[in-house]
Amino acid sequence: MLLPDHDFLKPRTLAEGLDALRDAPAGTRPLGGGTDLVFNMRCRLVAPPAVVSLKDLPELQGVAESADGTLRIGAGSRLTDLVADPRITARYPALAAAFRAVASRHVRNLATLGGNLCLDTRCWFTNQTKEWRDAKGPCLKTGVDACHAIQGSSVCVALNNADSPPALIALGATVTLASAAGERTLPLADFYRDDGIRHTVLGPGEILVSVTVPPVTDRLVFRKETARQGMDFAYGTIAVRADGRGERATRLVIVLGSLTTAPRRLVAAEEKLAALGLGEAGLAAAEATVRDALGALTNLYSPAAYKRDLARTLLSKAVTELRELPA
């Protein structure tokens, strides 16, 4: 099936691209690797009047390391290149693992980091062919006040299935956004919203330019649970960062992905583990906080009860792996 008709713009510099996005009609979409947007266009989930390709913008490319060890990763960097980048693999093998967890090598050879961070939310009832959706009827995301996932929900509860955010959030990464009006930088944790339709804070004409990872010496672990390893969207992901060594840690960051509309931080679990240590007692206390931290869950792609169990299992496995990491 051909894509819906649209204008295709290919700016050569960031300034040109931002001007093009400012001047383009409402609903214009920026294009990274295309593996998400092209698919959604083919399913007629989106039909933007224009697409602005970011592929050739030099400002969005490459990884730069400052003297203090801060990494600036261009949002247009391909995931394939990041998986193999020695500056990432040497210091943050768990971050490289999170990048490698995205889809297959075929997809990563096209897909960009920015595209994965902006990955549209997914729902069983919307990510279907147009014929399927028409038979079921529209929903919040496709233009009416109805939700098939949670009856009566006033907000879209589609899932954020991107694999890279939890590890980057745990590392305290910031994102730099740019539009023709200017630039702003904010923590990646604040980039996401609990709304499946406007799931990021990106405004009209605004794009993600770069991701900055501060120097971190803490331990970091990433895990992904999925149907087919090395291929599918996740049932759940987790990133756990901790200082200290062995079972001792005073500061932790725990972030779950793919279970909710925005990546979810488990603050209560972090506090239990910091207070009681990463041994079995601390872990049991931390696991007991997960259900409340997750709150209401959807049955999208896997049952809510399974998701609650999965979140506890991911936490248990990740913390066990973390405390056994060589110092």
């Binding site: 819906p4 649209h6 083919r42 390709s53 090598r105 997809v107 050879n109």
Partner: protein
Amino acid sequence: MKKAIITLTVNGDAREVAVSARHTLLDVLRGKLGFMGTKEGCTTGSCGVCTVLNARGEAVLSCLTPALEWDGQAITTIEGLEKNGALAPIQQAFIDYHAVQCGFCTPGVILSAQAVLNATPVPTEDDINDGLAGVICRCTGHIKVKEAVRAVGRANAGDTPVVAKP
């Protein structure tokens, strides 16, 4: 949008072709240039049968990328692996190891395997698994495919030439 004329170098031959924003690379390769070895499967990025190689010899999904992004780029399709009538080692290995059943996914699998060998001439099991995970055979499985890739890897390591399995 009006059509634009782009230049695609497919298997070494530069071709000019008129495409619109509605076309993916797959649409152009099959529908306009006649490279029918590139198959159209799921068109959702799940099956991998539309795999082609980019200029760096990496496997990419031609169904998920707009044709206009490829202006001036070089692409290798399954038709381009054979050189002067001689099959590429990976193609011969697929024959030797019976790594083909119905054949529909085979172009995508062979190009994915070639991409693995381009990146790592002597691939590890992890390289093979990672490189072939994105392309799916629905007839049987990947055991014989992996045997074929391993055989080329062994030949590249200088162990044994690529010949029929004993």
